[in-house]
């Protein structure tokens, strides 16, 4: 069932946007992103991210915001959200490229998703002045988070990743 849905989503993305290269909203262009299937295989910066910085971003409730919605293998963190799937083991379920697309713009996988598009300026309304023209995370930060998520391979327990 889960696998079936994954395949269906892959097909959907393939059908609608195979290998689309997107130029972002006019003004301050973001780095171009190449979607292949349901993934963005290439690093946005051309370099690997830093997992320790990625971990800090995921836990930071004013920058990554992830734990507002998600829980994860972070037993020391109180008050994790329950609006979204647990991030434990997500690195075993999804490839780096799949993780990258879900962060950059999860709407490409699920148009109804409530997960914010972290690296896209498309289809925005009434963005507060301080955030206008800015993605939620910068390209390097996306890579840090992707590298950290990819390291979450086990069941729910704390997986600190050294640099």
């Amino acid at each position: 069932m889960r696998l079936g849905r994954r395949v269906a989503l892959t097909l959907l993305v393939l059908a609608s946007a195979a290998s689309a290269t997107r130029a972002e909203e006019a003004g301050q262009p973001l780095r171009p992103v190449t979607i292949v299937g349901d993934a963005i295989p290439a690093s946005l910066t051309g370099a690997a991210g830093d997992p320790a910085r990625g971990r800090a971003l995921v836990l930071d409730r004013t920058r990554g915001l992830c734990l507002l919605c998600h829980a994860g293998p972070f037993p020391e963190e109180r008050f994790q959200g329950n609006l979204a799937p647990d991030l434990s083991g997500v690195g075993a379920r999804l490839s780096e490229g799949q993780l990258r697309l879900r962060l950059v713009d999860g709407r490409r996988v699920n148009p109804q998703t409530i997960m914010p598009a972290y690296y896209s300026l498309a289809a925005r309304t009434r963005v507060a002045r301080a955030w206008q023209g800015r993605p939620i995370l910068e390209a390097g930060e996306i890579e840090d988070v992707v590298t950290f998520l990819a390291s979450l391979r086990g069941p729910a327990r704390d997986q600190r990743t050294g640099p």
């Binding site: 079936g4 395949v7 959907l12 959200g81 329950n82 301080a130």
Partner: protein, 260 residues
């Protein structure tokens, strides 16, 4: 597996509607944000002698009785005992204002009386005077069910309020409905998401360490969405207030409520 995948794909393509979203709250499930609070805060809201918001209400009661100038009557000079004349009034607001030809909320209504019946400067939005007087007027309806007027002139603004409630906005691309219709009762980090009812305003919020209006609360939620808040008094807020009142009725008014 291929068959499952094809069926799922067909379902996705044929039914792009928000199947995962439960949508509007069923009448039997409607409940105030009061229900989401711990017993200590609930007890504080229930006990007027321990409720910090009652200080503002007391100032409002004094203002009600005081003439703004030598030649203008006090609120009570025209309206008499608030307990009788203001009973049930707050439960009907926002309401249509024939003079300005638009819907107005209770704060606006009070300022209209300041302007037209007392020839005095309207109180600033979010000033202690306006909050206290509004809370004092609304207190006279405490425990009464919200009763939004069945007035067709309000329908367009109420509809606009609903559209705003359901619209994605801000850097995070969230809508009010995603949190308050579809995920109430869930944990957004440390906060339990309430249904987002307007029943307690103006209310004392611990985070504000003071009394605040419904518009201030809506601005807080918009900032959380990283959306540009409307200026105080904007028609968009009155539209949202109209929709929120209809969505919450017939929950009882709680003013002044207490919230974390």
């Amino acid at each position: 597996m291929i068959r499952t995948a094809t069926a799922a794909l067909a379902a996705l393509l044929l039914a792009p509607g928000p199947a995962a979203f439960p949508g509007e709250i069923a009448p039997a499930d409607k409940r105030s944000g009061f229900a989401e609070m711990g017993p200590a805060l609930q007890a504080m809201q229930r006990d007027d002698t321990a409720h910090p918001g009652m200080l503002w209400v007391q100032d409002g009661a004094d203002l009600w009785a005081r003439a703004p100038s030598a030649d203008a009557p006090a609120c009570g000079g025209c309206h008499g005992e608030a307990r009788a004349s203001m009973r049930g009034v707050a439960a009907r607001y926002p309401a249509w204002d024939a003079r300005s030809g638009r819907p107005i909320d209770l704060e606006d209504r009070i300022n209209q009386c300041r302007r037209t019946h007392q020839q005095a400067e309207p109180f600033a939005r979010e000033s202690a005077d306006l909050l206290g007087l509004t809370a004092f007027v609304a207190l006279q309806s405490r425990g009464m069910p919200l009763a939004p007027p069945d007035d067709s002139r309000l329908a367009p603004a109420r509809q606009e309020g609903r559209a705003l409630f359901e619209a994605r906005m801000g850097q995070l691309g969230l809508s009010c409905a995603i949190c308050h219709d579809d995920h109430w009762g869930r944990h957004l980090g440390a906060a339990v998401i309430p249904q987002g009812h307007p029943t307690g305003y103006p209310l004392y919020r611990l985070e504000w360490q003071g009394l605040g209006s419904l518009q201030r609360r809506l601005r807080n939620c918009m900032s959380g969405m990283r959306a540009e808040p409307y200026p105080f008094g904007a028609p968009e807020y009155v539209a949202l207030e109209l929709y929120l009142a209809e969505r919450a009725a017939p929950l009882p008014l709680e003013t002044p409520a207490l919230r974390p």
